[in-house]
């Protein structure tokens, strides 16, 4: 199996426009087995997107290492699909061409036209192939982005709040689709979400993070078998546990107030 990720002692700082240093990630270590489904959860600014960008290779760590199947990640590549937090469909391409972009770029589009159609129907956009992104709703754009990231069969799929703009019903459907795709294609999936239920419903493990400096405070193993009952007793117990962890991160006083 491929798609294992090893993050060890990663630090990442940014300089904001005011010239101050922001510690986006502080001594983060995380080991992700091939085929794992990991959720990253935590308050805004705790470095979730930064962690995904490190794995994608769009940025590199100041210190520490990020490895995919034992090899250092140095640059972005199609083996790590990325669905971005903000909408990044190319506005000059219609939905079909957006989804086919990666296949065309890698010169493997010939012969995989079927695949594109498959993923278009999978995300429920059949009949909208010729539409341009500005003609679609936010949720439809998100689904198109998901299809675009999936169609190239990446080993690892990085999802930054993939279902944020969807209504509750479509959202639950898409969650089931994601589980199905994962089972079918054996992808490692790492997803950022703000929805605790979503994290519990989908993940093998939930990584809880805290900001300033961004770090991992807890990794919760979700020991429930699929399909998971959203309202089940165990489910609710996990829900309470995650909320407690999150609450702790929020209400914890800033260290500066002491001394």
């Amino acid at each position: 199996m491929v798609g294992g990720i090893e993050i060890s002692h990663v630090n990442k700082e940014f300089t904001n426009p005011q010239g101050e240093t922001v510690r986006a990630l502080h001594d983060v270590s995380l080991s992700i087995a091939p085929g794992d489904f990991i959720s990253l959860i935590g308050p805004s600014g705790c470095g979730k997107s930064t962690l995904l960008r490190l794995i994608s290779g769009l940025i590199s760590p100041d210190s520490g290492s990020v490895k995919l199947d034992g090899g250092d990640i140095t640059s972005p590549g199609s083996d790590r699909g990325f669905m971005f937090q903000e909408h990044t469909l190319f506005p000059w391409l219609n939905i079909y061409d957006n989804i086919a972009f990666g296949l065309r770029a890698r010169k493997i589009f010939r012969g995989s036209e079927k695949l594109v159609d498959e993923f278009i129907s999978l995300v429920g956009l059949k009949g909208f192939e010729k539409y341009y992104p500005h003609q679609l709703s936010g949720g439809m754009c998100q689904r198109a982005s998901l299809a675009r990231a999936l169609v190239g069969h990446p080993k690892v799929l990085l999802l930054d709040e993939p279902l944020g703009a969807l209504d509750a019903f479509t959202r639950m459907n898409m969650q089931d689709e994601i589980l199905r795709i994962r089972a079918e294609q054996n992808m490692t999936m790492i997803m950022v979400t703000h929805d605790v239920d979503e994290a519990i419903y989908l993940s093998d493990r939930i990584v809880v993070m805290t900001p300033r400096p961004g770090k991992i405070i807890s990794v919760v193993d979700v020991g429930l078998s699929h399909p998971r009952a959203r309202g089940g007793e165990d489910f609710l117990a996990y829900h309470a546990k995650i909320l407690r962890l999150l609450n702790y991160t929020i209400s914890k006083p800033e260290p500066d107030y002491y001394l």
Partner: protein, 315 residues
């Protein structure tokens, strides 16, 4: 209301025709070959009357026309006032403001020669425009995506670009073998500068997230340039081409003073020296109609290419 709106042009063209026919001409104006202006007004009267009756029967077909009707009235009123100020009363200096009949007369009797001049100009303009636009887009992309090109070429663009084309004339005349190539070069230069600047700034202002998305999808740098940078910069490129096109019209007139044998700019200058202002106005009318059509064509082309844009900027 709609009926009145589409009736007004009928009324205005009738009034214009009556003014042209009934008021006596001033003796100060040389007589025209024929009352061309009255022909024009009569034709307009017939057309507007037909449109009015069509509009009464099925307003759907004349919706666009009804919208433009007040504007038609404005044009007719302007022509009538001009007609009164020139040939009817000679209030405006007779030498510089010939009668509209004579201007229309030139357009009709001199059509073959003006047409030939126009073709010569178009050949020059299109040659220069195509070379300038191609070079501009190429330079713009190079500056936009390549730091080396940006370092070496961009200062050159900044220094050379703003020099008005007239200033190049002495240099261009000695460095090009023929007048035509020298003139085409001046026009190309005028198109090249704004196209280069806007193409490169268009590429510079593309959201970084598009490049990131392309990279995670496995696109090579070359593929990213042609499939991400260029299409994303196209709205800017078209603004550059538009600026370049207007600059090329100005340069055309300059370029045709370098010793062209024919050309619409040359024609205007030549007739001005001969003090035959009716011909000058005829040349100006032909030139402005041509420029109008070329710009319209450019817009149509842009709207086709940029169909993906939301709320395209309308000029």
């Amino acid at each position: 209301m709609h009926k009145l709106k589409s009736f007004l042009p009928v009324l205005f063209s009738a009034l214009a025709l009556i003014t042209a026919l009934a008021l006596p001409d001033s003796p100060l104006h040389p007589e025209a070959q024929a009352p061309f202006l009255s022909y024009v007004f009569a034709a307009v009267l017939i057309v507007t009357a037909v449109l009015f009756f069509v509009g009464l029967k099925s307003p759907r077909y004349t919706k666009k026309y009804t919208h433009k009707a007040p504007f038609c009235c404005g044009v007719l009123a302007f022509l009538t006032v001009l007609n009164i100020l020139t040939v009817k009363t000679a209030i405006l200096p007779v030498l510089y403001f010939p009668s509209l009949d004579r201007v229309a007369g030139v357009l009709i009797t001199d059509a073959a020669f003006i047409g030939k001049c126009l073709l010569y100009s178009l050949r020059l303009l299109i040659t220069g425009w195509v070379c300038g636009a191609a070079a501009g887009i190429f330079t713009g992309i190079a500056i936009g995506v390549n730091p080396g090109a940006r370092y070496w070429v961009y200062p050159l663009v900044r220094v050379l670009g703003p020099i008005p084309s007239t200033a190049w004339v002495p240099l261009v005349l000695v460095s090009f073998p023929t007048v035509v190539s020298a003139s085409a070069f001046l026009i190309a230069l005028a198109v090249w500068f704004p196209t280069t600047v806007l193409t490169s700034s268009g590429i510079g202002s593309i959201q970084n997230s598009y490049f990131e998305a392309a990279a995670t999808l496995g696109a090579s740098p070359g593929y990213t340039i042609f499939k991400v940078a260029v299409p994303a910069a196209l709205p800017h490129v078209f603004i550059g081409l538009f600026n370049g096109t207007t600059a090329s019209f100005i340069t055309l007139v300059t370029a045709e003073m370098l010793g062209a044998k024919y050309g619409i700019g040359w024609y205007i200058n030549w007739q001005k020296e001969m003090m035959s202002y009716a011909n000058v106005y005829a040349g100006l009318i032909v030139m402005s109609i041509t420029c109008y059509l070329l710009i319209t064509f450019l817009f149509k082309f842009r709207d086709k290419v940029l169909i993906w844009q939301k709320g395209v900027i309308k000029w």
